[in-house]
Amino acid sequence: MKKLLTGAFLAALATSAQAEDVTLQLKWVTQAQFAGYYVAQAKGFYEEEGLNVTILPGGPDIAPTQVIAGGGADVVVDWMPSALAAREKGLPLVNIAQPFASSGMMLTCLAETGIKEPKDFADKTLGVWFFGNEYPFLSWMSQLGLATDGSPGGVTVLKQGFNVDPLLQKQAACISTMTYNEYWQVIDAGIKPEELVTFKYQDMGVATLEDGLYVLEDKLADPAFEEKMVKFVRASMKGWKYAEANPDEAAMIVLENDQTGAQTEQHQKRMMGEVAKLTAGSNGALDVAAAEKTVATLLAGGSDPVITAAPTGAWTSAITDKALAN
């Protein structure tokens, strides 16, 4: 109620200050994966740019692409494969910035299953996330020549839930993990790193671009919206760089924003440390070569490709060029 009143009060004052509203939809629940945005908000970087940013956490049933299509957000955090898939479905998403330079996705296997290299996946059960995150995996398997329909000689794919139980319960030989999250849950559960074999998508040459910022193309044509996004990206990147430099403080800010109160300091601090490795080396500008690599990986996606043709206009440097100019 108090927040609401202050909000109303501020809105009344806005005639002079003109704070612009921006709504950001995250891809998943509040965690250090999105630290840059929470830091930018807590440290007042958005405010300095004259922005009033609302950050909406995601969840297992929330597709950021659908939220932005429904007008529930101005800008969303999403992975490039699912954004490109949405673009082919007729939702013109454009990447305006790419704070994550490299991919954090891995396949983590129990050493006791005898898996040493990717060709050993044959006839094993692999856990994969779906909801738009399955595309890199499917193209990788198709490049390895492994069928994913359960036929002999191929792999059996399981849709894994939101945790690492399938590996701990030995229901799957390998599961999908992120360097900054699930991998550590396996370690926390008492399995030693030497008992695990890990394949990073980045090392396997099948990495796709993860957390990027996407907006709708037609809105971008409006100079006022473009200006707003320039400010937003500039402040967000400032947030990210601050988070990289002060990981512990950033983790505490994230924890502060977790409304479920179920997250722990230990998890978030570690996650922040790992996320910083992925954002390092990105100033926010999209590396076009990496984006083209993503497209190439997806187009190699076998019988049921995510996208059927290379997209045009799926990314723009217009925002980052201006945001990074000064």
């Binding site: 297992p60 049933d61 007008g71 529930g72 945790n163 926390d188 559960a189 109160g261």
Partner: protein
């Protein structure tokens, strides 16, 4: 005493089975760990280790109780780590959905009893509506709510809760409003009562026992709807959100504590509805 003792016996039986299950399920992990370390363990060593794991497959009752106590009494009720706080968030959603469900159920029942065409066309679809898996609709409700400009995520939650809770109210109210028999209706006609008077003086009072009986079912359905709404759609706060986060971060204790908090909430809601029902029955002079 004769009512409490059997319940206590059954509960004690459940706790015993639970402990046995905990030993059985959690021991796999202990054996696996021993195997990885290259040692063997005896059963006597295994049992204590199954009682205090950080990520048990089935946490024993005392671990859940401790976590529950920590969440309820160990925090200020305003803290977001408090189960009381999250229980209240879920309670709010439940009540909003419950109120919405009652209004919808009663309104539909009234028009169904009044208009034959409503009865024939709407009633079958009301039944079909309950066979649609509401979880599948949850993301759509969220997006459509966004589309019409509702940013507050309590609203989609309440809609899901109302969707589940209107049905028992509707069914009971239709039965209740139709419960006066022909003789009573004829009597009112001889008094020269018009339709509105018949409704207010006969049909509505006659339907009250049915109405209150349906409330218990409706409140439970509403709670389920709220938790389902909190689980997948932008887990922000509430018991459902804590279940999700507990599952995602491999913290079964958080999940179990949230589950039991939900059970306690359900118990309190049903008791409260029962009390309202008894009060209303007493006021109306219906023998309990």
């Amino acid at each position: 005493m004769s009512r409490v003792l059997p319940v206590l016996t059954v509960l004690a039986g459940i706790v015993v089975v639970w402990y046995l299950g905990a030993v059985w399920l959690n021991s796999t992990w202990v054996y696996d760990q021993a195997e990885r370390a290259g040692t063997t363990v005896t059963l006597a060593e295994v049992i204590p280790q199954t009682m205090a794991q950080e990520r048990p497959l089935l946490p024993p009752p005392h671990q859940v109780a401790a976590e529950l106590w920590k969440g309820v009494a160990g925090q200020a009720v305003t803290s977001k780590r408090s189960l009381v706080y999250h229980g209240f968030v879920t309670f709010k959603g439940t009540m909003m959905g419950f109120a919405l469900g009652i209004v919808l159920g009663v309104a539909l029942a009234m028009s169904i009893v009044r208009f034959r065409v409503m009865d024939m066309s709407v009633m079958p679809w009301a039944i079909i509506s309950q066979t649609i898996p509401i979880v599948a609709l949850a993301p759509m409700i969220l997006v459509v709510a966004n589309q019409v400009g509702v940013q507050d995520r309590d609203v989609p939650k309440a809609i899901i809760a109302a969707y589940l809770s209107f049905f028992p109210v509707l069914v009971s109210m239709v039965k209740g409003l139709r419960s006066p028999d022909q003789m009573q209706l004829d009597l009112l006609r001889t008094y020269g009562a018009n339709e509105v008077q018949t409704f207010v003086k006969l049909r509505l009072p006659a339907s009250m026992p049915y109405f209150f009986a349906s409330l218990k079912v409706a409140i439970a359905a509403s709670l389920i709807g709220t938790i389902v709404g909190e689980l997948p759609t932008g887990a922000i706060e509430g018991l459902g959100a804590r279940m999700l986060i507990g599952s995602q971060f491999g913290e079964p204790l958080i999940m179990w504590a949230a589950l039991f908090a939900a059970a306690i909430l359900a118990g309190m809601l049903i008791l409260a509805v029962g009390a309202v029902e008894r009060f209303a029955r007493a006021r109306m002079g219906v023998p309990a």
